[in-house]
Symmetry: D2
Subunit: 167 residues, 4 copies
């Protein structure tokens, strides 16, 4: 059986932040997504990596979000699904931008991210990445957020900052 | 929004094996499922734990498999989904037994397990548990196996021993 | 055989920093030293915990360093050794302050810390804590730094900021 | 300052055991010592790796133990210290064999091992390896065991099987 062809677009965000010993701060400097992917056994999907940008989502402009949505739209034409790895602070805005630009895409587009960097022991990064890579195989076409064991469909998804999750 | 009510039935298997310093062997002695669950952020499901047995699946008799299938069938009457954590060596047999006894249950029943115990650094346990707890929310009623980023529907699932996964 | 009685003074520092989901920054908010200690099998020492302060060492004043040195001096009167867990940025200054105030104490005083917080996957915290808890049993009286598989004696220890270690 | 030149002899043992998915058993098949060493920041020592054998220590014959002791003796002639990584079940016997063959060597020889394989989450392997690599720099010439935050000198060291440590 042919595996599902999935494009995975990385944009940076907390999930990929690494710690710099020199200044003691967390940065979006390296892509740790490949490290995360190497820890998973992916029998269901074949991945095409699209390393688009490495940004804290608080630094994203409207143009950045449009670029992410357009890239997801292009990938959706030629793959069975698209996963977007994104900072959680602006994830909802990019999801809504996808709805505006793409309406209903031909395949599922799933946005995910993490509240705690992969490099932290108690991270939610592996959980959310695992969920998005399964959800993209099971969902009908549409634009979604898959985080913390829950799938939400855009439009209308927002970050609940007090609880640190999406609703 | 009410969370999905999921019954999670544990039966033992490699996923829960722990190392004994005294004899240097891996045993099904303690339930480590609660440790795994505590590491996940479960916003989508509300879990009811059903600790049914603690067995290496090579030690399961036909009666044990019937008991697991019947328990899953009972739980399927009163919950939105059922997850069965099971040893991989006999997971297929228990899945087929579920099909025989339950035909199409009213809600999804998802079997999962691991090729390497949770207690090993390079385990697939968290991945498979995460996947089964998401799949049970997204799938239509039926009996499934969710392991290694792939969902397979019973009947007809088998372990590929050479590759260490399910097909 | 009676275990060696060791006082372990915690002052904060990178080693104990935890990640806040709310603001995405690393803080000295909780004491994670007890978590680290619980992961070690300590057959050689019996520990007395002295949680003195929870500070990034960049925020330490001269008064703070004097307080740490005096506390170490007091503990050195009544224990077989003293370990001080400290931020690396000012560790050398506190070590020199110990030399000024205590000259040669009756037992070894060992300062340690970490370049990367315990909560990071690739931390040096466990290594340095392990080393300091062994060094304090083997060294003659004096004031030392034990980090990165090396023991250095004060006075004259300094942080090599370019290489991220002590020389 | 020149680093201390240390020979590290690996012989197998629980510390290096890995899990085989095929038969579900822990084996001495690969050398995981290099993985462990890569996780440490070793500023104090320069290591020469001597991969002598890969054996569960229950399978060691008298000839094997003599070979280990002789190799340690040779390395002690040309290095500043020797670390022997060994299974704990027969570690005491090999230590005593070193005493018989080498009497007091010109440099410290430190035996270590682990009660739980490195590949287990709750292993004592990193602690014991860290301790032995520091102890070999601080101890006077002699034959020692460094495990669980304690250094013991041969002859007269034995494994306390009930407590899972050395006395």
């Amino acid at each position: 059986m042919a595996k599902t062809q999935i494009a995975i677009i990385s944009t940076g965000g907390t999930i990929e932040k690494t710690y710099s010993e020199m200044d003691g701060i967390l940065h979006n400097q390296f892509s740790v997504l490949d490290v995360m992917l190497a820890r998973l056994q992916l029998e269901g999907v074949e991945l095409v990596r699209v390393p688009l940008m490495k940004k804290d989502s608080l630094d994203l402009t409207t143009e950045h979000m449009t670029l992410i949505a357009q890239t997801a739209g292009s990938m959706a034409q030629t793959h069975d699904g698209v996963v977007i790895v994104h900072g959680t602070d602006r994830l909802s805005e990019t999801g809504e931008r996808c709805v505006e630009l793409l309406s209903t895409p031909p395949v599922p587009i799933v946005l995910t991210g993490a509240m705690k960097p992969y490099m932290m022991r108690n991270t939610d990064a592996m959980q959310n990445l695992t969920e998005s890579l399964l959800a993209v195989q099971l969902l009908p076409p549409g634009i979604y957020c898959a985080i913390h064991n829950k799938v939400l469909q855009f439009p209308g998804v927002s970050k609940d900052r007090a609880r640190g999750t999406f609703v």
